[in-house]
Point group: C2
Chain length 230, copies 2
């Protein structure tokens, strides 16, 4: 029974890693769709989100079956519950990528992002990819230092977010309010995406150590207040 | 053991209802703080969010203990897992109320909301209160029709959201970009708050019927795309 349990748990872990891969691909392609005003690519991101939703459902069903059939306790139980929480984070990351893609589609054939904002969006896309890659590694390695590095990576995203919102406010009249609204939401989607990746990493820390990091605990919640605080 | 299990489950249900009460109070007071530029009230909303976080933690610990000690299966197991998902929704609703309060605090002593936008914010605050009240009822009654009514109530919020964003874009130049950014985020916080209440109600439908409503399934996800689609 222990072997069967751990085989199942390995499958759940593999599904979580696959979810990080799908969430990463989604945001990477959404960023390209946004920057290139590529409506076909945007559509493909929007459609592909169903795969992530299905994988989450499958993972959660497996987890619930595991609880029912194997009735794990202690650490094993916490691992199963934690996996379900991670799947919720990763599914949400897919949603956020889809939202970015939807803004690209909505403004097509115009680009949603003015030329002078392209580089910050490129940077946010890169930060998103880095952070979800690291989160995927940490799910497998259970490495506490790796998990803390995810939190530090999130600081990069927060900086980009803060600077972008400051620019939107400062330069709003140059681009019109529609662009300001789009950019405000885009900035928030990337920032929330990174927050959920941090949350995945924190859950690993919790699994391994039995407690949340003092520093990291607050990053379950989003940080737009930092951004708005000028 | 069945009796002990159901006593524990009743306690969890009571905690969920208490969480809806705290989430409702938080958004109600945040709305007032926003409209009255009442910084003391905003601070109290921000501070009180810790109560909701603690209650969620307590509820989840109880749920995990219940899984470990009573090893429920079938419907009982699904009820415990569902309760943990609801607690995540309700905690997030508290976060969103806190975000509204933080915008009030950030702009103090100025009001974040221009006079001509007050009435839509009043309406969004009322819609938020109604929807969380109904969600709280549904947790207790397990009434499917009541749960579907929550979804319809969310349509009211979506309409308010859509019209607010359209106005922000149309009238942006009258108020400046900072106000447009604030209002964009405020609108999103109320809309997401309502989405999480819908999610709570859908989980009740799922518990009772074993499946998600066809219509309702998509409202797990947020709907800002509807709003942006002009």
């Amino acid at each position: 029974m222990r072997k069967a349990f751990h085989d199942e748990l390995d499958r759940i872990t593999a599904d979580l890693v696959e979810m990080t891969r799908l969430a990463r691909s989604a945001m990477s392609r959404a960023t390209t769709a946004l920057l290139d005003a590529d409506v076909a690519l945007a559509e493909s991101v929007i459609d592909a989100d169903a795969d992530l939703d299905r994988l989450r459902e499958h993972l959660d069903d497996t987890a619930i079956d595991l609880l029912a059939l194997q009735q794990p306790v202690a650490t094993d139980l916490r691992m199963v519950v934690t996996a379900m929480r991670m799947s919720a984070d990763l599914e949400r990351m897919g949603d956020l990528a889809r939202h970015v893609a939807k803004i690209a589609r909505l403004r097509y054939p115009n680009p949603a992002v003015p030329a002078e904002y392209r580089s910050v969006i490129v940077d946010m896309g890169r930060a998103a990819e880095t952070i979800v890659l690291k989160a995927g590694d940490v799910i497998v390695t259970r490495d506490i230092e790796g998990a803390r590095a995810v939190d530090r990576e999130d600081d990069t995203m927060d900086d980009l977010h803060r600077r972008l919102v400051e620019r939107i406010v400062a330069e709003g009249r140059d681009h019109g309010t529609e662009t300001a609204v789009d950019l405000t939401l885009i900035a928030r989607y990337y920032e929330r995406y990174a927050d959920h990746a941090v949350s995945v990493a924190e859950r690993v820390i919790y699994l391994v150590t039995g407690q949340y990091d003092g520093d990291a605990e607050s990053s379950h919640e989003d940080r737009e207040d930092v951004v708005l605080g000028s």
